[in-house]
Point group: C2
Chain length 287, copies 2
């Protein structure tokens, strides 16, 4: 079985590497020629083909490019696909992508997926074999898929070590704004702010502890990937940001007026995250 990966970065490259180890014939394409070359060099794919050759040869096609790229490619790929071929995407938003092809005659060959895995690094050099191990893969609008197409894609992700979960696209995007996209914006903003106000970069080297490193880690993420996610999920994310800005403005007021009781009340409520994060850790152990 031949799987084609379009977009050979962190996610696409890691799928390629894992699919190779699972015995697939893995072919790839990246419009960035240097990335395509690196993907071959690092052994992420068996070969690099043109888009025409991919549409000719692949049983499964994975779209592993930023959201705007998925939105541009998916209708074209569906137009030209045979009814025996299957396409999936790995975008971090799902509603607009699903809506875009809802009336397409070959809609049933498309599986909308979002493997919840990633790091703050990007490009082919960031790919690694076990990125997906023990993680969750979200599938939206599974009822619109042909049985065989859905099975091929869920089997692939399951074989990659993931648990497949099913969720309506509208819920997916809202939850993702809350538990992932918001924390990326706050982390980028923290990075921006610290670099702006701390004129002496040596003091960041000298004084920052693991606390800053952990909080600002996501500020290293790819602007291309995340710009496209923020744009596509702007409504949900904006609502989350509005609430966040309200809270941090309240926090600032409490700090300005040295209102210790108010601060403690806010921090105690935030401490509830202990319980929630411990739950996450327990689930991760049990998985």
């Amino acid at each position: 079985m031949t799987i084609a990966i379009i977009g050979l970065g962190l996610i696409g490259g890691s799928i390629g590497l894992k699919a190779k180890s699972l015995g697939f014939n893995v072919v790839g394409y990246d419009q960035n020629e240097q990335h395509a070359h690196q993907a071959l060099e690092y052994g992420l794919v068996h070969s690099v083909l043109s888009l025409d050759e991919i549409l000719e040869q692949a049983d499964i096609i994975g779209l592993c490019v930023p959201i705007d790229g998925i939105q541009s490619l998916l209708p074209k790929v569906l137009d030209r696909m045979k009814s025996t071929q299957t396409v999936f995407d790995v975008g971090s938003t799902k509603q607009n992508i699903c809506n875009l092809v809802s009336g397409h005659p070959k809609r049933s060959r498309f599986v909308a997926a979002h493997p919840l895995a990633g790091t703050e690094f990007s490009g082919p050099s960031a790919a690694f074999l076990n990125l997906f191990e023990g993680k969750k893969n979200l599938i939206c609008e599974e009822r619109l898929c042909d049985h065989d197409a859905l099975k091929k894609v869920t089997d692939l992700f399951a074989d990659m070590g993931m648990q497949n979960l099913f969720m309506p696209a509208v819920d997916h995007d809202r939850h993702m704004a809350y538990v992932s996209h918001l924390s990326h914006v706050t982390s980028f903003t923290l990075g921006l702010t610290v670099l702006d106000i701390e004129k002496d970069e040596n003091q960041i080297f000298n004084l920052a502890s693991t606390g800053l490193a952990s909080t600002v880690r996501l500020a290293k993420s790819s602007p291309i990937t995340w710009g496209s996610i923020f744009t596509d999920n702007s409504k949900n994310l904006s609502e989350a940001l509005e609430k966040y800005i309200d809270y941090i403005s309240d926090f600032k007021k409490a700090i300005d007026s040295k209102d210790l009781e108010k601060m403690k009340d806010m921090m105690q409520r935030a401490n509830e995250m202990r319980r929630v994060l411990n739950g996450m850790e327990l689930k991760a152990l049990k998985f």
Copy 2:
């Protein structure tokens, strides 16, 4: 040599444990009787004494309580200390503490310290032997210390595996607002916001990746410790927060208007943190 630890939480308990391993006689006090009991039970100190007994017996006294506790205890301890005894604190702010005792006749027996070490946990059960290994310890106003007092304290921290650095108190508090206190406020606020808007806590369990866990980790920190730090450093922290709120409001505007170029520009600037954090990692490796 007898070292007395007042406040047997994460920091005080870890100093006790390490000082025991270095051959000190370690005595302790905590106004929370349960913490005092636990500190004995976990072997963080050799014995628990009253404050009177500590002032009688200790060569070095470490104040390891929240900032407001240090401000209340330090003048009283100095009042009653013999001129052969030394006291240090471990507070995360230094300017007000130093100002408070600047005119004290025994000022020279006080060493203002801030070991840059900690975790998001608190209390005696959070203490561990190597918390300080390879970390930095900041000392302020060292010129106001008697030579023997300064040497005793810097030797202690060096023996605990730390590098002592010297810095004016006013600079210390400003830098700390930027590289530590700000990221605690943003993390507490993120915790508050996610718990508020994500009504379905199971979705936090299910969907949150390591990104959220890392960004929100500091939201688990102690409200007592941090309320006291935020209050004491309110002016510096408020300036940092003002800048942060400006940036995140700008970011929200760019998201609302789907201004991809503006978003990318902000993220690319934040990406500079890669270089800075890599510098930190290199320094940590070399230390």
